[in-house]
Amino acid sequence: MNELPQQLANGLALGALYGLIAIGYTMVYGIVQLINFAHGEIFMIGGFGALTTYLVLPSGTSLMVVIPLMIIGGALASVAVATAAERFAYRPLRGAPRLAPLITAIGLSIVLQQLVWGFYPEAKKPRSFPEFQGESFKILDNLYLQRADAFILVLAPLCMLALGLFVAKSRSGRAMQATAQDPDTAKLMGINTDRIIVMAFAIGAAFAAVASVAYGLDKGQINFEMGFILGLKAFTAAVLGGIGNIYGAMVGGIVLGLAEALSIAYIEEIPGMQQLGGGAWANVWAFVLLIVVLLVRPQGLLGERVADRA
């Protein structure tokens, strides 16, 4: 029990990562009802973009300068790929039956993975990523916060705040809300829905790039497959929190992260459940939680029940 604060911190940091990636899924779904399965790979490309930026900068530059530049470099890469995907893979399929863009997204995910595996130098093995040097922060006797965890726990709320303000207060943000609510009427009101859709993809991709820099700083390495499992979990988080709702994405992510961390640590301490705990069952319990939540509340934690649009 005395490691509870530590496991909570682990869960929160993991959850914040899921949440940042889930934003991408939820924004795209909210506006075009498309589950962008390639978003995990957008996240991965953001990471490689950040790594390239780091390799280009002269070595010895302090991390304070390097990290914002890496985020920008990663965001450039991921936004470029996301908007290209939207323009060339998804836009032509706007009127097609729902299944077509879904399958395209899955195919695109495989293509992007293999492109990086095949063409990025030395990507066949994990590539090392710069890390924070220095000890973890001692918060309590039984709580040590590693620097990378502190990084994401500070950055994620800041990003959410910025996004929330943007969507609620700015013109483009309100245009996004309008397009999500009813695209045809939004067009009638003079909103360029095509541009709004590109913006949604771009914002999702930028958040994914931030997430991948945080991930790289934490793990010390990135590899071409990292988008697959994280994308899947982040999508689950988005659904758990209510797909289409950006705050839901972060809430879902945190709930999922906490569920994983706590189930690894504590399920096996419940009498009778010794076999069902530990790292092997973390995913099982996380998804059991998802199923239970969806049975009770199918629209997700923060989702709204909306009638299907005609």
């Binding site: 682990n10 595996w117 090392s128 590693q146 793990k219 994983e260 790292g279």
Partner: protein
Amino acid sequence: MRHRSLIILTTVLTTGALTLTACGSRDDNSKGNSDSDSKTTVVIGVDAPLTGSLSALGQGIKNSVDLAARTANKNNEVPGIEFKIEALDDQAVPASGQANATKLVGNKEVLGAVGPLNSGVAQSMQGVFEKADLTQVSPANTNPSLSQGDNWGKGDSKRVFKTYFRTCATDVVQGKFAAQYLYNKAKKKQVFVVDDKQTYGAGLAAIFSAEFKRLGGKVVGTDHVTVKETDFSSTADKVKSSGADSVYYGGQYPEGGLLSDQIKKTGAKIPTMGGDGIYDPAFISASGEANDGDFATSVGYPVEALPTAKQFIKDYNAAGYKDPFAAYGGYSYDAGWAIIQAVKAVVADNDGKLPADARAQVTEAMAKVSFDGVTGKVSFDEFGDTTNKQLTVYQVQKGAWKDVESATFED
């Protein structure tokens, strides 16, 4: 109406084109034979993860067998025979391995196969090869049950597949050797054991735990990780709070490197030890200096130390492959060379030509193969296991694997 006839036309054309290409490839095979003039082509199949997270090892395996084939051709090792390889990707998935095995069996020119990398994949390939009497030599499978049957642990070893051989020592040797080193030499008494639930990792961890307990050590906790996951911080915290002074990991380098790194980040400055699955530079590149002190065991003596290996390394670098030969390069070269030697023996027995039942004869000749290979003396015992029970313990020092102890394992 216009659309429908267009669809019909397109369907007919596509079906026709596909049928033609299928015919075409079969014709190409026979054309290839007649083009080779007096030389008969013998194909050595290679099955390994050529893509995916273990592709670094798989590519090394493929390139090393290719080097063996090229060397044999250059030296005219078997007069009248030209060796080629057919490399298939199994992505470390058992079902893909089985499909590849079926494909290799169906190609009449294949007289032997090298691979796979993963013990779990081998389990689904052995039956296919056995039915076709096609020899299979693995450079990397270490699970004992593959050659000694499921009851090997109870002392009841029985060879199930007479077509299955391997050039690397099994986990029985590796796990016990690791436990003895960790307990006696490194003086660690409380170990936390983690594995990745796969055939190789779980098997190795179990053998290690049994031996460690037998020596008097204590296993203070166990946990599992899932392959392809990257966040092991909760498991790492469990390791820290268990008070263990070392960690044993049964599994491969992608997860092992991250696990070791995350354990150290929690503040527990304890070494992680693993088997040949983590003996790869990628294990270290996760965290550079921070991994110093971690151990790994690997089969055989360090490749760089053997005089026979020096020639292999020179030839490999000269051949200009894109990827390094990685941990199993030497074993793969020896596996390929063993097949070449078996073919040589069969051809010599048969007046310089390949007999009709070449595959069965190659399998029989394989059991008698014996030569000095890259990794030492290559020959097989009654189970198809290598007689070369040499092992080395490596430690990460200053960001690179350095061998600290080599020994020949005595049962």
